[in-house]
Structure formats: C-alpha cells, structure tokens
Amino acid sequence: MLLALITISFFVIKLIPGNPFASERMQPGAKKAIYAYYGLDKPVYEQYYLYLKNLLRGDLGVSYKIRSVTVNEVIAKSFPYSLDLGLRAIVAAVAAGLGLGIVSAYRRGRALDTFTMILATVGTAVPSFLVGFFIQYLFAVKLRWLPVAQYTSFAHTILPSFALSLGMLATIAKYARASMIEVIYADYVKTADAKGLSKMRIVLHHQLRNALLPIVTLLGPMVAMVLTGTFVVENVFAIPGLGRYYVTSITNLDYTMIMGLTIFFAGFLVVMNLLVDVVYVLVDPRIKLS
C-alpha cells in the first residue's frame, strides 16, 4: 500500500507544471549542471528507479531548495515540534472532551450541557486556521496574554495546541455525551443498580468503561486530523514543524521534500492506526486479533 502511495505521488508531482529551478535565472550551462547534479536530466522512470533504490536504504534524498540539507535531517529536526504540538492537542482534546461530554450527559438540559453542545457544534464547524487566527488576534494581539507565534516556551504552546485541539475536543465531547447517555439507560447498569452498589461504583465500573469504548475508535481518525491540522496551525503560528515544511515544499515544488514528507506522514499514520487497533483489542474483550 505504501508502495502504491509512493508511486502515485512520485508521478503526480512530476505532472505539476514547472520544476524546482524554473524560477531561477541561470546560464544554460549552469542549469544543465544542476539538472545533472540532481538527476533531473534522466528519464522519469529512471529517476523513479533510483528514488526507490535510495529509499530502501532509508535515504529520502536531498532538498532541492534548502541547500545542502537532506530530507532526513529536516524530519529529524522538525518532527519533534510537530509531535509535541500534536500530543499536547490530543491530550487536551481527550481530557477536556471527555470531561465535558460525561458531565453534560449527567446534567442534560442544564447550562453546562448547553455550553457543551454549542462548543461541539462550533468546534466541528469552524476550521482550525480560523480558530487559530481568531485566538491569535484575541489573546495575543488584543489582550497580550500570550505570545503571538513561535514555539519556544510553555506559554507559546497554549494557543496553537488549543487551535489544533478544538475540532477533536468537539467531536470527543459529542461522542462521549451520546455514549454516556446510552449507557445510563443500559440494562447492565440496571443490573448493577439492582445489586445495591453505590452510585460511584456504578459509574466507575459499569458506565464509564462501556461509554469510553466508542471513543477509542475515534483515536485513529483523530491522529489523522491532528496531522492535517498541523499543516495549517504550524503555518499560522510560525512553528518550525513538519507541517510547515510540507506546505512550503509544495509551493516550492521541492520534489524530494514533498516525497519524503508524504512517505513519512503515511508511514506514521499506518503505525498509529495499527496502535489504535491494538488498543482496541486490549480494551474490548469481544474483539480478538485473528
């Protein structure tokens, strides 16, 4: 599957009109030399073959635009930023989303429930770059509580994490509320109640675990959401993460960078989804690895 992805993106990128050096004015001789240096003078199928050969050795090639830097180096340097941002966003989304969802399930129709529902609707409807610009303007430019951009201290992480997490937070809150309400009326909860257990024990042992199960399925798509979210949010907040490089490499037609990052993202997603599946087997006894 990864191979198909590599092949398709390799040729699609070549289909884009222009090339990495089209914008630079050069002597014909220099141009030829550069083409030869990067192997662009060879036929496309040969380039493809060479690329695969290098890839097998774990070499993603050299950036066409950022001189004397390999794609591997870019990933090694900027992935930690993206990972950090993504993790913060996921943790915030899960914690706040679950909390809001569960509490509003128990207090249906009250103020907090209404707040959760509004937040859930707004959170899913408004794209993260809008959220990003908005909170950047409000909290950093107007109120001056938090730094506008960059990613150097904890205070710097708050706004981008929030912008990235809001969509997920909304989805989780909505699902958590719905599955919690379902569970409140479940037959096995009545069985537990009929045993004379305390409210606390019924909630912790019989409701929560069952209500959280559907949330685990959300984790897979969530990782994907965070990933695509970083493209946008990192740009808005000028964070030197992978997403930012990805976007600039596309506008620059930096062939090797686009390819390398695409492969990296794809591989990352595959691994994460595998992990989610493993988690699913661990929490639900009804599902067996087969």
């Binding site: 479940a186 069985t191 009929a194 045993k195 004379g196 409210k199 019989h206």
Partner: protein, 347 residues
C-alpha cells in the same frame, strides 16, 4: 396476614415525557407472602415491569417518578420513602432481580466471575477468595455445569440461556428473601425456558425464597405460580389463586387473555381468538376501567367510573362493574359466549 413479605398499596408510577405524563402504573395494591410464587401477567405495556422495578426505584428519575402516597412495606419495613443510599441495603441483599433480556443485562466488559462476586464483595460479606468459591457454588446452583471455566469468560462467550443462569446466580448471591423475575424466559428458546423455570421452582422450594414472576405466557403461570395478578393499563384488574384465575375468572380481560391462548386440541382451521383493539394510550388513560374500550361487555358506566374491588372469595378479587349486584343479567350472556371457559358457579 402476618407472613406477608411484601405489601404494596396505592402504588403509582408515571413517566414525564415531552408529550406529557404517562401514567404507567396507577393505584396498584398487592401482597406477596413468604415463600410464595406470584405471577404478574398482562400484555406489553401494562405496567408489570415498571411496577416491580419501581419498588426499589431502579428506573432513572427523571423520567420515571414514583407517585406520592403509595406504600411499599417489605418485611414489615416501609421502604417507600427510602433514599438511594438507604435502598442500597435492600437491593440485591433482600430483593433481587432477574431481567428480561440476558443478552444486554450483563456488563459486556466484565468477566462473569467478577459480576457474580461483585455484590457480596462490595457489601463486605466476604473477601475475594471466599467469594470466588461461593460464586462457583452459585453458578452451579443456577444450573451451570462447568462454572470454573465460565468464571473467567465474558458475557459474549455464553449463550442466552447460560447468561440468564448467570443473572440468576447474581440475583441469588446475597440470599434475597424476594426474587423478581421479569420475563426471565421470553428471550430464550422453549427447552431453555423449561430448564430456567425448573431452576426457579427448585430455588423457591429449597430456599423458601418468594418469587414474583412477570410473564405474559399463561402456560408458565400455570406451571409455577400459586397466585396470579392480572394487570391491564397500569392497573390490577384481577387477582386470585391459579385455580381461581384459570377456572373461575370473573374479569372479561382475564377471560379474553385465557381465550387467546392457542390450544393444541382446537379444531383445525379455527382462527385464534384475539382481543379486538389495542392497549390504552397511557398519556390519556380512560377515566373508568382501562379495559372498557375493548371490552365486549362494557357499559356506559365502565368508561366513566373506575370499578371498585369486588371480592369473589377471600383470595380472589376482581375489579369489574359486572360483579356489581345490578349486573347479574349481563353475566348470563357472558356465559353463553365462553361456554368452555366459564365455571357453572360463575352464573
């Protein structure tokens, strides 16, 4: 009588919905003696389950609200005003429940053993080690043959009948004085049904445990119960011993219910008897007798005034205007319509 284990009087439950107040149970009174098996029968929606589950308030409020003014006396103790906290000492240890659908009544994420042991361990009656051995014993009592293997399994690994046996084991765990079995066999096939009922009967005999059996299967009633309470539209319409209800019923609803039981010895090609119409809309229940809109013998009076209890014998009561002294003539036509169902003494 002093040997009453449960005395319910003027008990009502209503559901508050967007459409209005649904009066699921209205002014119900009945009693259960120690060691007795009482069947509550009635069609779907007649309030059987709501009634029994509301005794210890198992239904979430909102929407289910127990009406003020009702009394529930259990083992001489008035539990009707009890808070959730105080009811903890009643639920499970003194009144236990087996629900209708074994497929959904067990926690899908917990092992069978843990679910059986939970009650006794939580209430501090024994430690986990002793509880484990005890749970094995309970499962065996409930008719499970290889309890050691079942203890570590999850509900989805068990069949429906097996799960219902687990439910029974859970219910028995704290040696309740009263077991409420809410259509325990409806979701099961016929052979399993018979086994479960035999198990319940045996438990009633060996432990002297009272049982309230909710069902709409008249065959089950005849096989296991000593007394029958017939409910319709949230009210009790007739109650009496099994013989009195089956052979000398004095209520048109009970008679039609019995009349609609399919018979193996009926003529081939004969259509099944059924009760014309549908159960009352409980949002706007009839002011009088709930059965009056479908009753073949209804009088103008029936729709407007609820009939009072008419004692037929010390153990047999019927809530029907036909039993009023002035209604004797109507009973004669009643006898003509159900010649095979009516005892001669009824006319």
């Amino acid at each position: 009588m002093s040997d009453a284990i449960l005395e319910v009087s003027h008990f009502g439950v209503s559901f508050h919905t967007y459409a209005g107040e649904v009066q699921a149970v209205r002014d119900v009174s009945f009693r259960v003696s120690r060691g007795e098996v009482v069947a509550i029968v009635g069609e779907s929606g007649s309030g059987k389950s709501v009634l029994t589950q509301s005794l210890v308030r198992l239904l979430p409020d909102p929407p289910a609200r127990v009406a003020a003014g009702g009394r529930v006396r259990f083992e001489g103790e008035d539990i009707s005003g009890y808070s959730f906290r105080r009811l903890k000492s009643v639920k499970g240890s003194r009144i236990a429940y087996v629900f209708q659908d074994p497929m959904t009544s067990l926690n899908p994420l917990a092992r069978i053993g843990d679910q059986v042991m939970e009650g006794v361990v939580y209430h501090g009656l024994m430690g986990r080690k002793r509880a484990y051995a005890y749970a094995l014993e309970l499962l065996r009592d409930a008719g499970i043959r290889d309890p050691e293997r079942r203890m570590g399994q999850y509900p989805h690994e068990l069949s429906g009948g097996m799960r219902q046996r687990v439910m029974i084991a859970i219910a028995l765990a704290m040696r309740p004085a009263l077991l409420v079995a809410d259509e325990p066999t409806t979701a099961l096939d016929v052979t399993t049904q018979a086994q479960i009922l035999a198990t319940l009967k045996e438990l009633n005999r060996s432990r002297g445990m009272s049982i309230i059996l909710i069902t709409h299967d008249m065959g089950i009633v005849a096989g296991i119960a000593r007394r029958v309470i017939v409910m319709y539209g949230g009210k009790v319409v007739e109650s009496g011993s099994v013989e009195e209800i089956f052979e000398r019923s004095r209520h048109p609803y009970t008679r039609s219910l019995l009349g609609s039981v399919p018979r193996l010895d009926a003529d081939k090609g004969r259509e099944l008897d059924f009760i014309v119409g549908s159960p009352p809309d409980m949002l706007r229940p009839p002011a009088g007798c709930p059965f009056s809109p479908r009753c073949a013998y209804a009088m103008a009076l029936c729709a407007e005034h609820p009939p009072a209890e008419s004692p037929v014998s010390p153990t047999h009561s019927s809530w029907c205007w036909l039993l009023h002294p002035g209604a004797a003539r109507i009973l004669e036509s009643f006898a003509r319509r159900y010649p095979d169902r009516i005892g001669t003494e009824a006319v």
